[in-house]
């Protein structure tokens, strides 16, 4: 696998040092609708979660990375090659699209073998291995067009895995899978990432992305809204208020004392629970124990209310 050199600031979280996929100033539009707007980022080994609301440009970006769609402006390079011009790129990339559509009249084994054959894969056992990876070997001789949505999705994952790609692009791969299969697929994708493959996953199920991705890229209106791990994204937003829940022995006195602190933007009392809004969390973290000690209030619990991706996402979209 080729590692690309970039001229970007190494501290920029939108870029990784050992990138296998690099997107530069990518713009794409469909008539009046802008799908991607001057997007620049890169993807390297490990699992990267691609997040964004509907119409954010996630699918367009994934299709551009695999070469299915041309960009109106900008470039995409996979291992230094243009996926639109150099078809050899497809020997190391695979896509699992969100669409439910599957070829008619084929069994799962025939479909995976077809993909393997077009990659000129000499290993005749590879299709069965790929189907076993996604727990579909038992139904390998059933027709794919008769499968449920989740089974179709897993068959498409098997078709993507059969060539052991170094870059795996998965558009909502957990759609339709039951909880057991979701856990199975998440473990599989994490394992592939740990093997050094570049795994790019989009999903609307944010708590799964939290479990799945080492790194997150957030797209909104075709633009890069945030990049990095969850905490890094949160830190990048330190000018926005955060919410912290404090549970203590005397919530009323604690709230009265906290409201006077510079680091506290607002306080809400709910029984003995105090919900604090702050845009200077580090300062609050230092001040809170001192205030509690002065008031002889025992703190039972201090936890951020909005460290989940759900809340982060809501904040970014706002």
């Amino acid at each position: 696998m080729t590692t690309m050199t970039t001229s970007h600031d190494p501290r920029d979280p939108a870029f990784v040092g050992d990138a296998s996929v690099e997107v530069s100033d990518a713009s794409a539009w469909f008539g009046q609708k802008v799908a991607l707007s001057e997007l620049s980022c890169s993807f390297g080994p490990g699992v990267t979660g691609l997040l964004g609301p509907n119409g954010a440009g996630k699918t367009t970006l994934m299709r551009a990375i695999t070469g299915l769609m041309p960009l109106n402006q900008g470039t995409v390079r996979v291992d230094g090659r243009d996926p639109r011009r150099d078809r050899s790129v497809h020997s190391c990339t695979s896509l699992v699209p969100e669409d439910e559509a599957v070829p008619s009249g084929l069994t799962a084994r025939q479909l995976v073998r077809y993909v393997a054959d077009l990659h000129a894969l000499a290993d005749r056992a590879a299709p069965d291995r790929a189907l076993a990876e996604v727990d579909m070997l038992g139904v390998a001789d059933r027709r794919v067009d008769g499968f449920s949505k989740g089974m179709r999705q897993r068959t498409k994952v098997a078709a993507a895995l059969v060539t052991e790609p170094t870059v795996l692009v998965l558009d909502e791969p957990l759609n339709g899978a039951d909880p057991v299969q979701r856990a199975h697929l998440i473990a599989l994708f994490r394992r592939l990432g740990a093997q050094g493959r570049t795994v790019i996953v989009s999903s609307h199920v944010l708590h799964e992305v939290e479990r799945l991705a080492d790194r997150i890229i957030v797209l909104i209106h075709g633009r890069l809204a945030a990049a990095g791990d969850q905490r890094a994204i949160r830190d990048a937003m330190n000018d926005r208020p955060r919410h912290v829940l404090v549970r203590g022995t005397d919530g009323r006195r604690l709230a009265a004392a906290l409201i006077g602190l510079d680091s506290v933007a607002g306080v809400r009392l709910n029984g003995d629970d105090v919900e604090i809004s702050t845009s200077r969390a580090a300062e609050l973290a230092l001040a809170l124990p001192a205030v509690a000690s002065d008031l002889h209030v025992r703190l039972r619990e201090v936890r951020p209310l909005d460290d989940s991706l759900e809340s982060l996402f809501r904040e970014l979209v706002r």
Binding site: T66, P97, A101, P103
Partner: protein, 253 residues
Amino acid sequence: MSALAPAVHKPWRFASILVYTLRSCIGPKRWLGSLVYCGAALLFGLLALTIDEPSGEAFARVAADGIFALVVPIASLVIGDAVLGAEVRSGVFHFTWLTPAPLWQIVVGRWLGGCIVALVTLVPACALAAVVAGDPGSAGAAAIGAFMGAVAYIAVFVAIGCIARRAAVWSLAFVFLVERLLGAALTGIAQWSPTWESRAVFVNFADNAPTSLVRDGIPAGTGAMVRLAVIAALGLGIAWWRLAHIRLAGASD
């Protein structure tokens, strides 16, 4: 003693594309649907029996206006669109496109699959139509003409399927507006029309077909076959070029 490693054979992509075309693109419903155009060809054969002329001439006239001008293009449209355009529209073509397989192999493999379907459905039906019409001597000519016409038409419709999302509409426009309407008035268009060329092939090989059925300027026999081969090559070339520049959206887009 040295152990012999088992021979490792790389799969032949071309064969896989061909098998896939016959298995998936032309599914059971389409195979069943082929009965419609095969039946239409036989009906035209029966129609020839009602014409008050020697059977050879009667069949030649019906074949020229019914089989080569209607059945062959419509059957080829159904087949040509199924092997590629329908897959592009349904959003499953990425299984093929996102592989290192050369685009020319994909295009030619799909076209060849379509030609095989025509060979086992349309061609025998056209030959049988001659027998039904009481002119078994023209069965071979009808088969050759139908096959050569289908070969060119399927390539043209494969190209249209890659270019246009409403491929059936554009394909029908090609046959009825360009070939039939403009071709009737402009000899230059008729010179490169699969209908007129396949008709010339048939007339050349049939025993009793009147030569008046061949339009002026269209070469007879082998010359017409060469032109049909050129049309097929052009269609495949356009399809190949188009696939290199295609924007593959999902079925829902």
